[in-house]
């Protein structure tokens, strides 16, 4: 019989605004190798994310070894992506890419506490690839849809991650409905700017 392999973690769809509001991470088992989850304010756990946006800046912020930081912008805010020697493919993508470019990033959420005690959230990429505007737009719609689904399920009885989010965060989930609406509207307005055929 096949060995029981751990189920692959879903890549959550979350806008930068919500992602950067998250700061609380947790494990669901004491195992050292147990997955670490970022708790999303809309009440879901995220061990992996997929984001598609515009790479606007990149910089090697490493001291000795290369350590690349990329800023990836979606309609609601900015994701920070860090790739070093342990993410060689992603690091070389950041080295070679010329911003601005649409990129698709699959990666793991990471948090770190700054000197002033606030928590910054970033992405450690598993892969970075160049995509086109249509893929970016599709991601925006899909991410809006997933966000709305999470907000809708927030009050459900037995939604343990929503209860956890209530406890940990001070933000009403409706705020992310507004973020989703404005993200969708940004797509409509760019459509209008396109020249008439």
């Amino acid at each position: 019989m096949s060995q029981s392999t751990p189920t692959r973690e879903v890549a959550r769809r979350v806008f930068a605004e919500e992602f950067n509001d998250a700061g609380y991470t947790f494990k669901e088992s004491d195992d050292e190798r147990a997955p670490v989850y970022l708790l999303l304010p809309t009440g879901e756990k995220a061990n992996r994310v997929l984001l598609v946006g515009t790479l606007t800046e990149k910089e090697d912020v490493g001291d000795d070894a290369e350590y690349w930081r990329g800023r990836i912008v979606d309609p609601t805010g900015t994701f920070f992506v860090y790739a070093g020697q342990y993410q060689p493919d992603a690091a070389s993508m950041l080295r070679d890419l010329e911003p601005p470019a649409y990129v698709s990033v699959v990666g793991k959420p990471r948090t770190y506490e700054t000197d002033d005690g606030s928590v910054n959230v970033s992405v450690r990429p598993e892969s970075i690839t160049v995509v086109d505007a249509a893929t970016r737009d599709r991601w925006v719609v899909e991410t809006a849809e997933r966000t709305l689904e999470r907000v809708e399920a927030f009050e459900d009885e037995g939604n343990e991650y929503a209860r956890m989010a209530e406890e940990r965060y001070d933000v009403p989930p409706e705020r992310y409905t507004e973020a989703a609406v404005s993200a969708l509207q940004s797509l409509e307005s760019t459509d209008e700017l396109e020249p008439e055929p």
Partner: protein
């Protein structure tokens, strides 16, 4: 003794409509007979079942096993259901464990499902291509995939009829978020009927062999709510990547490295959205058809939903 525990679970399930039994207690009774009094497992099970029949004041026919329902395999969506199915043996696989006497794929008009028969059940062997009525099989679930287990109480009746096995094609949509190792240009074992993928020129069954080149992509489609592992065969991989097998071979030759092919494919397709369809076998959806989703997604309907919230 996991084996006794399995028997105990089956007994608890058999009586589930009549008695509120504890698996532990049933297992203990079986254990007492088997390990203390050296009774063969089958005999112990019969004895324990008879005991409970008396306790519930029932005839043997009354317990589950006598009254399981006829089902179509595509309708199986619950664990531990006792059912009767009429199926054709589509495929027999090599059992990976001595505890399993037969494993493979059976199907009816509605689709196909994996079946497992255990050595301890001492059942007659099923023949590939034959149609059987299988009475009293029990469903099992692993990571969202269902199978049926044949057990000691299963009746096997060979039928003289033909079944047109339905195809259970699934379609999934989402972003291709990962391409796993063993993708790109690969070598397969040339031994008759083997086709295993070689690792460093070695087949796990036949050792060092002169492999035959092939292409495939093992990937993950993810829609943000669930993941599906998919396999593109050579034809689908050529279409997906725009690289033919011959081109892949010369790319590898130039680079003195076969992994350049997977690298190239990765750059082209990771993070893009696809709709793929094909039959599901175990963990994998085998891609028959696919298309890249390039049309603009429907923002308007999502916006309407958002505004109504």
């Amino acid at each position: 003794m996991t084996d006794l525990r399995t028997h105990a679970r089956e007994i608890v399930e058999q009586f589930s409509e009549h008695l509120d039994l504890e698996v532990d207690e049933v297992e203990q009774r079986l254990d007492n007979l088997v390990n203390e009094y050296r009774v063969p497992v089958e005999e112990a099970r019969r004895s324990v079942v008879n005991n409970y029949l008396d306790e519930a004041d029932l005839e043997r026919d009354a317990i589950r096993g006598g009254d399981s329902d006829a089902a179509k395999v595509a309708d199986i969506d619950e664990d531990e259901q006792w059912l009767d199915v009429t199926v054709k043996v589509v495929d027999l696989w090599e059992p990976r464990s001595d505890a399993i006497s037969q494993v493979g794929l059976v199907g009816d008009e509605s689709g196909t499902i994996k079946f497992v028969a255990f050595d301890t059940s001492e059942l007659p062997e099923l023949e590939e291509g034959a149609v059987y009525e299988l009475g009293n099989v029990v469903t099992d679930e692993y990571q969202g995939n269902y199978s049926i287990k044949l057990n000691r109480t299963t009746s096997i009746t060979k039928l003289d009829e033909e079944i047109e096995v339905g195809d259970d094609t699934d379609t999934v949509e989402g972003a291709l978020v990962d391409i796993q190792s063993g993708s790109g240009l690969i070598k397969r074992c040339p031994e008759e009927g083997c086709t295993r993928v070689l690792q460093n020129g070695r087949c796990s069954e036949h050792g060092d062999v002169e492999g035959e080149f092939d292409m495939r992509v093992k990937g993950v489609i993810d829609d943000g709510a669930s993941v599906q592992e998919v396999i593109f065969d050579r034809e689908a991989t050529e279409e997906l990547s725009g690289i033919t097998l011959d081109e892949a071979k010369s790319m590898a030759m130039d680079a003195l490295d076969t992994t350049v092919v997977a690298e190239e494919i990765r750059e082209d397709v990771l993070g893009h959205y696809y709709r793929v369809s094909g039959p599901t076998l175990g963990r994998y959806l085998l891609v028959d058809e696919f298309e890249e989703l390039t049309e603009p997604a429907d923002a308007e309907s999502v916006l309407i939903k958002a505004r109504s919230m």
